[in-house]
Amino acid sequence: MAAKPRYPTGVHPLLREETARRRRIEARFVDAFAAANFDEVVLPIIDYVEPYASLVDSAAAKQSYRFVDREGDLVAIRADFTPMLARALAPSIADGDLPLRLYYRGDVIRVEASRLGANRELFQIGAEIVGDDSVDADVAMLRLASGLVPNPSIVYNDVSISSALIAQSDSVRDALAAKRMSPDVPAALRTIVGKLISGEATIDDVAPFAPEAAARLCAIGDALGEDDVFSLHLDDIDGSSGYYTGLRFRVYANGAKVAQGGRYDNLYERFGRRAAAIGFTFTIDDLD
């Protein structure tokens, strides 16, 4: 019987030119991280599903490729570095260690619903600051991300704003997800939701609903100063991962999304150690 000429859906080898290109991009990232005093960590390619069960919803869990190992335990191929890093790091952090600046790189395999269930192997490089909940850390990460690709455009927001509105009425989620007003949105929220959808909302408009997030976004905006790279999109709520607690941002280059990140101050606590954290991940396959 002849061997199959193709590879499983979503994976392919990189031959000489593609590998050289991949390594060039990788080297650029590694140099930038080293210059900013980030240290590398290496994470395993598979892990048990159970430690993460409480923090990923079923939709996100379905994104990972899972199977039963020889001992009968359910394991998953790495689909998201961030929770893995928290689980690996949390038990070993000593009080004097923080803040930590770390970066990681490697493949993830995702089963993407929008690609009709096809796998996709992605090479990612990400960085994270653990144990620093300051605005300075937010700004440092935004600036670091902006320096990694030519002509980036970075959209940022704070997820606690939409969370506060959705807590008042679940209908807000649907309206913000579709970008269309729904008759189910209660009268008291129609003005603010309408402004968010139309893009007219300002930080002052959202301040009554999420005062802390508004103040923080003001501070971040002041620190970033006048810079065309960064723009605040208060209506942005979407995100597949459920662990973000504050700042959330996405990086676009050449009309495509190349990175995303944000703050997840409760994630380390789930693995036994309280520590604020902020990070981002670039998907190298999405770069030119």
Binding site: S114, K179, G199, D238, A256
Partner: protein
């Protein structure tokens, strides 16, 4: 900007909306040429099968388009849906074969929506994916039921089938890709405002 127009059921009304919104859209003579891509004043209009509009927009091959909620749901398309249109409305329904047999097999063009509906109901039934004329499956007893769009109900009446349940109210929407929405906010706002205005004027 590249806009995807669905061929078939919604095509004429989709083009009329953009024409009302002041866009220079391809006309009948253009469409007779069998070309699928037309460049008009900086906007590229592409004509694709209705079910493919969400796929093009989801992956950024088109920036925006018009798609029915049926196709948006079936493809789990995550694009934004800023405008809902008053035309082309219908219902996604569960329809039984003559004599209303027990629900055991369902023929449909929408296997994902049907699976989710059956799971939500806790019904153990087999889904038989077909690509058209699904009512025939129930008429010929291939399946006990079908899930399909119902506009007037004429097909159902002619074949002595029985409407049993509304699964979803379906309407066409303007869909806009997430990346386009974030990277070209000015173009997006103008597009939405013009299309909304055209819809509101048409309603009056």
């Amino acid at each position: 900007m590249r806009i995807a127009i669905p061929k078939g059921r919604l095509q004429d009304r989709a083009l009329a909306v953009f024409a009302d919104a002041g866009y220079d859209v391809p006309d009948d003579a253009d469409l007779k040429t069998r070309r699928l891509v037309f460049d008009r004043r900086g906007i590229e209009w592409i004509f694709v099968k209705d079910g493919d509009v969400p796929v093009y927009v989801e992956h950024g091959a088109a920036d925006a388009g018009i798609a029915g909620l049926d196709q948006i749901l079936e493809h789990e398309c995550t694009a934004y849906q800023p405008v809902e249109f008053p035309f082309g409305r219908c219902k996604m329904m569960l329809i039984a074969a003559p004599g209303a047999p027990p629900l055991t097999k369902v023929a449909t063009k929408y296997p994902r929506i049907t699976r989710q509906f059956l799971d939500a109901r806790g019904v153990r039934a087999e889904v038989v994916p077909l690509s058209g004329s699904v009512e025939l499956a129930a008429v010929l007893k291939l399946t006990s039921h079908v899930v399909d769009l119902v506009e007037t109900g004429e097909t159902v009446r002619v074949h002595h089938l029985e409407l049993q349940d509304v699964i979803a109210e379906i309407s066409p929407r303007l869909i806009v890709g997430k990346t386009f929405y974030r990277t070209e906010p000015k173009l997006v706002r103008e597009l939405i405002a013009r299309v909304e205005e055209a819809v509101n004027v048409a309603k009056l």
